[in-house]
């Protein structure tokens, strides 16, 4: 079942003519000519579509929180500041099929009553920005954007804004600050963006994938979308698969297939690279807890884990993880978890905005301690210190970056503590190039 990537391999899909030949922009026509904004919102609510940026908040509900005072403009902002290590799905979608996003933007803006909308793209993706700009110009030329769209009296201007290349600007309030031309520091909440967002006006910030899915929902109805998937995880999800698998890439999966199928079937990842076996998986981008092979394939209850929001988080933080943004990083047994954790910790150290003290100081502290362990200078008390620092950051910060920095470290220690201990007790072996800890009884290959 493919929704977003159905026509993505059609040659020339990035041009509006080919896109329209393949059924593009029908949703705009349907929504603007035959539906009211509230009806569109209702369909999105019915679809059960959940935010694809990471938090998984129901999108229809987010839309219904939007304050609608008289005489105040409302904005829709598309969050395309995809910078989470391991996640590259939005990049792929915008690069291959920019009109899918633009169609979704028009439909969503219409539903929210926004007359100005923005796509905030991370600055590193300058060529994607050029593709989007070109596509938007085409849409303007066809009368799908601008004044009086399709003769309906609805106006919409769509702008692309390049970011400066900061991970933190993917946090919605930091994104709005950055969009306003300020330093990208997250705001204190409340007030939430739905009440006071961009330029203190009501604003909805949604992920690229969520917005792109709305046009299919308008075309086929919310119920049809809700029919895909399991339970409260409806629809399809783009998964960016990377790491030690045979076929890395972006896959669109119907939510609800098993993790095992996703990793091992030939339709998706195609299994672990030859001669190796699965050691650990980061299921939703670098900020979600890492899980060992046993925990990712089966839940505590012994059931097969599914690719859904609920199933992945089953077991809480002890044995569960999160679907997050769908950055699926697979590691085989040649991976050193300490080194991997160091990479993540260094990333969060580098990307912390420095506004609130637990995250500013804590991320740097964790980075330095793990660095010491990795280079063979660890002390036996360092592991408990890391757990305690992670605990003191978690939940005490302005934005979720603190949690995102704390979880990977805490989870790596929870599931691979013996590996950290080995680094501390065997510094000479551990610092040899390519050295990886093997659990007693473990082997290098199948």
């Amino acid at each position: 079942m493919k929704i977003l990537t159905q026509h993505i391999d059609v040659p020339g899909i990035e041009t509006i003519d080919v896109f329209m030949k393949n059924g593009g922009y029908k949703a705009v026509e349907k929504a603007i000519k035959t539906m009211t904004p509230d009806e569109v919102t209702e369909e999105v609510k019915k679809s059960g579509l959940r935010g694809r940026g990471g938090a998984g908040f129901p999108m229809g509900m987010k839309w219904s929180f939007l304050a609608k005072p008289e005489g105040v403009p409302r904005y829709l902002v598309c969050n395309a500041d995809e910078s989470e290590p391991g996640t590259f799905k939005d990049h792929y979608l915008m690069m291959k099929s920019p009109h899918t996003l633009i169609e979704g933007m028009i439909v969503s803006s219409f539903a929210l009553g926004a007359n100005t909308s923005y796509i905030y793209v991370r600055g590193e993706l300058m060529y994607v920005i050029n593709i989007l700009e070109k596509a938007i110009q085409e849409a303007y030329d066809k009368g799908l954007l601008g004044k009086n769209i399709l003769g309906s009296g609805y106006d919409l201007d769509l702008f692309v804004q390049p970011g400066g290349g900061a991970y933190i600007c993917g946090e919605e309030t930091a994104l709005l600050e950055s969009l306003e031309g300020k330093r990208g520091n997250p705001r204190n909440k409340p007030p939430f963006p739905a009440v006071k967002g961009l330029w203190q006006c009501p604003t909805v910030v949604n992920n690229v994938e969520s917005i792109a899915a709305t046009s299919w929902i308008v075309n086929n109805g919310g119920d049809a979308y809700a029919a895909i998937g399991v339970g409260r995880s409806t629809g399809t999800k783009l998964i960016s698969a990377s790491g030690h698998i045979k076929k890395p890439g972006v896959y669109e999966i119907p939510l609800g297939i098993t993790v095992e199928e996703f990793i091992y079937s030939d339709e998706y990842c195609g299994g672990i690279r030859d001669g190796h076996k699965l050691k650990a998986v980061v299921a939703g981008g670098s900020s979600v807890p890492i899980l060992s092979a046993d925990n990712i394939l089966t839940t505590d209850a012994g059931e097969k884990r599914l690719m859904t929001y609920e199933s992945l988080s089953e077991g809480g933080f002890a044995t569960g993880t999160m679907l997050g943004s769908g950055g699926f990083i697979v590691m085989d047994e040649t991976t050193c978890i300490v080194h991997n954790t160091l990479t993540f910790a260094r990333f969060y150290h580098h990307e912390s905005c420095g506004q609130c003290s637990p995250c500013r100081e804590g991320t740097g502290w964790m980075d330095k301690v793990i660095k010491r362990i990795e280079t063979g200078k660890g002390r036996s008390e360092d592991i408990d210190l890391l757990v305690d620092v992670a605990k003191k950051i978690e939940g005490n910060t302005i934005c979720p970056l603190g949690d995102a920095a704390a979880w990977p470290v805490a989870a790596a220690i929870r599931h691979f503590r013996d590996e950290f201990e080995w680094h501390i007790t065997h510094p000479e072996e551990a610092t040899k190039p390519g050295a990886v800890y093997m659990r007693p009884g473990a082997s290098w290959s199948n």
Binding site: N188, G354, S357, G362, T363, G364, K392
Partner: protein, 341 residues
């Protein structure tokens, strides 16, 4: 609106924050504030020192809030129940915050001008632990001059953003802000420009630590050796209400007047602060009221005559007889010990 903080209930106006309500009760229950500064709009929420537990959100919705909330920016709801000093988790978190703030702080209090009136000293004394767990090298910066009267020592900065808000809100043409991010973020004027306006000196007063110091006072004295006096003058730029800091007959420093929470009552101009350093420039109103517990009051106003009963009682209680030949006469002096029962 009724709000209960640490089992004390009081009535407040709608829109009051938990911090303001707690301060109405008194310093015993007021959470510490490192970044929040009431006169500056938009300040607060950054240092996380004032995190408190809300055990009941409001009368209507009495569920507890899932996370600790910053008291300085959270508005009270009717029937809210807040736990500050009585909650274990809050105190534990606060220990962590002290640790985080001190992580890259040089702890050069012995040579720092702010020592004695430093909020970070007070905060770590009241809420921190006595030992450190870090062995990591600290991040360091070179001290820079912001104009001829202000010295910026970024090593000591805790990035409270107060000086940025001050510059934004009370002076024209802000030239300084925060550059870089994470623990490398620094207060800076873009490429070491001088801060040049009539009210720039106030950034020294709002700084909770010794990151921004007065170059006309630098290394001249310690705050507890100087004697603060309220004084005023007729100034055409500001109200002219200041505190003069005397050492002997010499005015060694001029600052704005601060309230109980260390916040400026009025912002003063640079002429008053840096140039009027003669007693003849001022009309003296009298000694500044200083808390008896402050180190500033030590050796002044007869404060040294007051016997601090509690520490001596505690010392006597904790005293263990050691069999040695040192002179213990001071402990056998009956006049300073509480009478034995």
């Amino acid at each position: 609106m009724k709000v209960t903080i640490d089992n004390i209930t009081l009535d407040v106006e709608p829109g009051t924050t938990i911090m303001q309500a707690a301060r109405m009760i008194g310093p015993e229950v007021a959470p510490p504030a490192m970044c929040y500064y009431e006169p500056l709009q938009g300040s607060g929420g950054k240092c996380r020192a004032c995190l408190v537990k809300v055990t009941a959100g409001s009368e209507k919705d009495p569920r507890p809030m899932p996370k600790l909330v910053p008291a300085c920016i959270t508005a009270v709801q009717d029937g809210m129940i807040v736990e500050n000093t009585v909650n274990e988790a809050v105190l534990e978190t606060r220990k962590g915050i002290v640790e985080f703030l001190l992580l890259n702080h040089p702890l050069d209090c012995p040579v720092c001008d702010q020592a004695g009136e430093c909020h970070l000293q007070d905060f770590s004394f009241e809420h921190g632990v006595s030992s450190t767990r870090t062995v990591e090298e600290r991040n360091t910066f070179e001290p820079v001059d912001l104009g001829e009267n202000i010295k910026l020592n970024m090593n000591r900065c805790i990035l409270c953003y107060r000086c940025v808000y001050t510059a934004d809100q009370i002076t024209d043409g802000r030239v300084h802000g925060v550059m870089n991010r994470g623990d490398h973020a620094e207060i800076s004027t873009y490429i070491e420009k001088a801060i040049d306006n009539d009210f720039s000196g106030n950034v020294i007063d709002v700084c909770p630590v010794g990151a921004l110091t007065d170059k006309t006072y630098r290394f001249k004295s310690r705050v507890w050796f100087s004697k603060p006096m309220d004084a005023h003058c007729s100034c055409d730029k500001c109200s002219g209400n200041v505190t003069l800091w005397y050492r002997g007959d010499e005015v060694i420093r001029v600052t704005g007047r601060k309230n109980q929470w260390g916040e400026l009552k009025e912002f003063i101009c640079n002429t008053c602060r840096f140039d009027r350093k003669k007693t003849s420039d001022w009309v003296i109103e009298g000694p500044t009221e200083v808390s008896r517990h402050s180190v500033i009051s030590a050796n002044k106003y007869g404060a040294n005559m007051i016997r601090p009963a509690f520490p001596i009682a505690q010392a006597a209680r904790d005293f263990k007889q050691i069999d040695d030949n040192r002179d213990r006469s001071f402990l056998e002096n009956k006049s300073i010990l509480p009478a034995k029962k």
